[in-house]
Symmetry: C2
């Protein structure tokens, strides 16, 4: 078997939970896990420069194959020498397969054994994604970690549909692995199975039998209650190998992230912190605040006095409120920096807590101080 | 007479033109002239951080009293400890008086000897600006250089109107000077007179007889042909003292800037470079380019290979085109940095040329390479 282009090193297994710390070595550097990955959908973490992405402590960032295939086209990125050179980010980059966007953004979707045809959300043109096409597009983009093409089963879905889809995703996984990719590119498989524990187990066992470099749990954070989310992980995680990274896709709220870490997940991504920031919703140690509220008009304190981001070190709530109300780009930028740094710092704190075998009390303390995160 | 809160030092008078170099010392640092001043209308140079403003070589930046009075209100800025602390820019800041916006943005304008009443462009509320109010609002904002409240005479205007307005602006100038301001705040008078040389001369002589710390030439760059603009300066400049800074308001195209420098002007400002950038129009040594053009789709060269800005050192035309077409905030930001740096660098080159007594040939060479700037 080919040597994995990435190397996951388990560092510490917490004694109070399934939480664990580790490192992932890639061609573009070593990153620590657990890790929150900022999303740079269109080869840009919205409003941030490459230096700012590094400065907030980001490790891997995620970019979206579906969006990049539409704009600027994977041929442009390939010609640029790959996404790292195209966007000038020196750290590791992960691309999704486009599968999630096909199910969330595209219209007139038709799924067959071959793949999916659909009309894209930009100009309505007919497009096709198959395991081979999705893998080839990711090869062209040149990310360090690429994802198998899967179907994201809607929630709720009936058992029969979920079973057929899960089995098809497994057949697609084999085809993804058989499609050429670059030698530096790791590929992760994705466990599906909907809300059904037996299907999650089946998917986890069958996916991990394939020579993937890591494993994602997909079909989460699509509207299911937290207990269902938690059970989706519980059904899958015990069947994942301990020596490969584990990734839960699309979670960005504090409670879901801490739940996932507690179940032994290493990686997660979400647009939530940047999207919230652009709408003036700021995450703080003591819960969220909405910068447009009039109470901040003459509030010359930082967003969060315990935050070490550039925004908090330099700017006041009053200034940020002014920028937000004036629809100034700098406001969106400064608030994006804060929300990303806030989440990354919480996860950094989790790493320390895990290594001191007190993750569960750390998570409880963070959530208690933060309050109800589902408000987002 | 009170000592001026700023100190202008003439450094070199070019032998080939009226162009000159100098320095202005303010409480927030020493800046070199001639100098292009980026505009930060709402206490933000759109999309740029304070560090980026400094990095592009900006000296003084300009902010707009009319806009700040509406949002966030000068009381908020005063409470913040002044505009420098509010926006965290450490260099010198100049505020205009609001006069220009009253004439360009406001509705239902009524001018009397007392001042101007109008409905603001945001919510239509009735507002009044007088010499006293405009000065007090600028005192509250706390800029290093504040401007007298004047009427910007439209172009074209008849002689009778221009004369009456020019005389009223002179009476307002006296009232501005009589209104308290902070000891660190310099105040500039504004020469009006429309397109009429005798009125420009009258205004220049009468304004410079008042104890202002510098002098602006107003009512320019409002649609007049370049020859008229040039004549407006020619009629006024000979009557301005050599030991005080000279400022032409609202010019940002290369030909107007170089014309003004050649006539001995030290300072100018304009929203043009940042506005153009947000619309994808980029200034380069060899003329402007429009980043959305398809020719740049796979162009992996910088905007301008002779530019030393962060954008040109790091990013390609292809990436910037992608960001522009995707309406990504980072694109507006990177292109704003470039256009501002481009203009500032041209002016830096002018300073060197002046000190080597070859300003005229420098200006000709720059303009010849750039081509027709009026296309903007």
């Amino acid at each position: 078997m080919m040597k994995s282009p990435i190397n996951f090193q388990l560092k510490h297994q917490s004694k109070d939970s399934l939480a664990r710390t580790g490192t992932i070595t890639t061609q573009h550097g070593v990153v620590k896990t657990p890790m929150f990955m900022p999303v740079g959908t269109l080869a840009t973490v919205k409003s941030l420069s490459p230096e700012e992405i590094s400065e907030i402590g980001a490790g891997v960032i995620l970019s979206n194959t579906y969006h990049l295939a539409l704009r600027p086209g994977t041929d442009v990125i390939q010609l640029a020498g790959g996404i790292h050179r195209f966007m000038q980010y020196r750290g590791p980059i992960l691309t999704d397969s486009g599968g999630f966007q096909v199910f969330s953004l595209a219209k007139n979707r038709v799924i067959t054994e071959e793949g999916v045809t659909f009309r894209n959300h930009l100009n309505g043109d007919l497009m096709t994604l198959t395991p081979e096409i999705a893998t080839t597009k990711q090869k062209e983009i040149g990310a360090d970690i690429i994802m198998a093409f899967d179907e994201c089963i809607p929630y709720p879905a009936d058992y029969k549909y979920a079973k057929a889809s899960t089995e098809r995703t497994l057949r697609w996984a084999v085809r993804c692995l058989a499609t050429p990719r670059d030698s530096h590119q790791a590929m992760f498989g994705i466990v599906q199975g909907g809300e059904f524990p037996d299907l999650r187990e089946l998917s986890a066992k069958a996916t991990t039998a394939l020579p993937f470099d890591g494993f994602a749990i997909g079909g989460t954070s699509i509207g299911e209650p937290k207990a269902v989310f938690s059970n989706m992980l519980k059904a899958a995680v015990p069947h994942l190998p301990i020596d490969k990274p584990r990734y839960v896709m699309g979670i960005g709220s504090l409670d879901y992230i801490l739940e996932a870490i507690g179940q032994g997940i290493d990686m997660f991504d979400c647009v939530l912190p940047t999207r919230l920031a652009r709408h003036g919703a700021l995450m703080t140690t003591h819960g969220r605040l909405n910068i447009k509220d009039s109470e901040f008009e003459k509030d010359f304190s930082p967003i969060d006095s315990s935050c070490d981001c550039r925004t908090c070190k330099q700017h006041t709530r009053a200034y940020l409120r002014h920028l937000y109300r004036s629809d100034e780009l700098l406001g969106k930028r400064l608030m994006s920096i804060h929300n990303l740094r806030f989440l990354i710092k919480v996860v950094e704190g989790a790493r320390v807590a895990i290594e001191e075998d007190r993750f569960q009390s750390y998570a409880n303390k963070v959530l208690q101080s933060y309050g109800d995160d589902r408000g987002f």
